[in-house]
């Protein structure tokens, strides 16, 4: 019987499975590999028509060019990192206490408050961009790192609160009782007992806030109107539009690689955290 009914695909058709895997891997990696290979071609070869599959000579010319693009790649990288950093700080400062308050205190209308904090998940932030833009113009937050970080926090706060609340709730209360007897106040309990135990949740929060902020596009496009305040994705759009219609393809490929590197590095280093975060956030 087990001959006709194989429990798994890998038993029934191991070769077919392996071939399918290899095809999928090739299809998924092709765009990344092709872009990387183009970025290390010489500038002339990167714009060759028809294109060459492999670089005939290695060159960092394209990277050198993108480093000197307009205000300099350094400026755009700084902007992106700065906004991401401020977003992380805002999410931590707001979501850690909120998660603690919701997990450990009998606040009146607790679940309603929780829903209000999660409302950002239902209200698409794209719809809020116009009023926020006008508000920031009067507050002097337009074209500032902090202003864009606030927009990214609007985007990222619901997930952050959700992750912190569920991770604090998972900590057994007995651990805190001893501290209460020792005379610890609620802040000391949060700082000394809960936060160290919630480290995986903190990593997830920081990771997702970074990736979301680094990659966010329409907000950066609208709020960072000044050339010197562009984040990396907005700079890429500029490179792509080119000068007088002539696109520097090599520099563009190099810019794309630079823009992807931090997120790819995070994924390769913290793969487990990243996937776990996705699963906890997306489906409740």
């Amino acid at each position: 019987m087990s001959a006709t009914i194989a429990p798994r695909l890998s038993d029934r058709a191991p070769l077919g499975l392996a071939v399918t895997c290899l095809v999928v891997i090739a299809l998924m990696l092709f765009p990344l590999v092709a872009t990387f290979l183009s970025s290390i071609k010489t500038a002339a070869e990167a714009s060759a028509v028809p294109p060459h599959y492999l670089p005939s000579a290695l060159s960092i010319e394209n990277y050198a060019k993108v480093f000197q693009y307009q205000a300099g790649l350094g400026t755009y990288l700084f902007n992106s990192f700065m906004v991401a950093f401020l977003t992380i700080v805002l999410c931590l400062v707001l979501a850690v206490p909120a998660g603690y308050g919701l997990a450990r205190f009998k606040i009146p209308a607790r679940e309603s408050i929780f829903l209000i904090l999660l409302a950002g998940m239902m209200v698409p932030y794209q719809a809020l961009l116009t009023p926020l833009y006008l508000m920031f113009s009067t507050l002097g937050l337009a074209n500032t790192h902090l202003g864009l970080a606030v927009v990214h926090t609007v985007l990222q706060l619901p997930f952050s609160v959700y992750v912190m609340r569920s991770s604090f709730e998972a900590v057994p209360r007995e651990l805190e009782e001893a501290a209460v007897i020792d005379g610890c106040n609620s802040f000391q309990i949060l700082w000394r007992i809960l936060l160290p135990l919630a480290r995986p949740a903190l990593v997830t929060l920081v990771l997702f806030a970074f990736v979301a902020s680094w990659n966010e596009f329409i907000g950066a496009l609208i709020f960072m109107g000044k050339e010197t305040r562009f984040t990396v994705p907005i700079m890429l759009v500029g490179v792509r539009q080119g000068h007088f219609g002539a696109v520097d393809w090599g520099a563009l490929q190099a810019g794309i690689v630079v823009s992807m590197l931090p997120c790819l590095a995070i994924y390769l280093l913290l793969h487990k955290h990243y996937v776990a975060g996705f699963l906890s956030g997306a489906i409740k």
């Binding site: 006008l134 890429l236 759009v237």
Partner: protein, 291 residues
């Protein structure tokens, strides 16, 4: 501590986040609705115009076209993402090192920004310097490298190709988690009853994953209805205004034509539509039993 004092302390912890949401979500939301009833513009001037903006939206052919185009994009891409994601999840549920590698590689583009990936595909699909055209030509599929962005339909497929590449791993991971939640005992019982692989997928895996499938579909639908980055970068709304999405048309009115009041009215319309879809999501999540 007395219970009343504890309640107060709890509120203090929650207060900063609540204040943030009130200032940067609730207040702008009210502003948006008020603004939608004015002819506010970045160039100045703000008179109350009542429902005029909404009536104008109703007669705005480009807006209708943008709504229809966004719906079309959503209807095309959602089944591809869901069926593709589910098949990849079935693949990823198998044991073995090669499978684990495949899973990691498929998920890789999910961490890349939609902006970066869209520009990456602009380069790959370019009819002159792009490798996709060269590859299709060398494989004998096409005589000339195809020009993607001169035609709305082709441009749409180019965008779909790039977005599927970028986000298909998202569905795969969620479906994989759903498959893994189904107990080994259920699977073994089905094998005892003589159910083949695809029979088990059809009659056991899928029904037990109904909730996961539904929620993943709704997340994907909401994401597609809000599409902007990929069209802004890849088609720029063209040719003509044929590939404007709803969010793109709102952006165009608010920040290119400086018609903030009108843009706000369009935003309110979009907001209501998204809330209806999200409302369905919550209702479905509540009514569907957790497996």
């Amino acid at each position: 501590m007395r219970p009343l004092a504890r309640r107060f302390v709890g509120l203090v912890y929650v207060a900063p986040a609540l204040l943030f949401v009130a200032t940067f979500v609730a207040y702008p939301l009210v502003q948006l609705v008020l603004m939608s009833m004015t002819n506010a513009s970045l160039l100045g001037g703000e008179t109350f115009v009542g429902w005029n903006n909404y009536l104008r939206a109703f007669r705005d052919e480009t807006f209708w076209h943008a709504l229809a185009f966004t719906a079309k994009y959503t209807l095309y891409i959602t089944p591809i993402l869901m069926i593709g994601g589910f098949l990849l999840a079935l693949l990823a549920a198998e044991p073995g090192r090669l499978v684990r590698l495949t899973r990691a590689v498929v998920f890789l583009p999910v961490v890349i920004g939609l902006g970066s990936s869209s520009i990456l595909w602009v380069g790959l699909l370019d009819e002159q310097v792009g490798l996709v055209g060269r590859l299709l030509h060398d494989l004998g599929v096409v005589a000339q490298p195809p020009v993607w962005f001169v035609d709305a339909q082709r441009g749409l497929w180019a965008v779909i190709l790039s977005v599927v590449w970028k986000v298909i791993g998202f569905g795969m991971i969620l479906f994989l988690a759903g498959i893994q939640r189904i107990g080994e005992d259920v699977r073994e019982a089905a094998i005892m009853d003589g159910a083949g692989y695809w029979q088990r997928v059809r009659f056991i895996t899928l029904p037990l994953m109904a909730r996961t499938v539904l929620l993943t579909t709704l997340i994907s639908v909401v994401g597609s209805l809000l599409a902007f980055d990929q069209f802004y970068i890849m088609t720029a709304g063209g040719p003509g205004s044929e590939t404007f999405t709803s969010v793109y048309w709102i952006y165009q009115n608010s920040f290119i034509y400086f018609k903030q009041g009108y843009g706000a009215a369009l935003s309110v319309v979009l907001l209501v539509m998204i809330l209806v879809v999200s409302g369905c999501q919550i209702l479905a999540a509540r009514r569907w039993p957790e497996t």
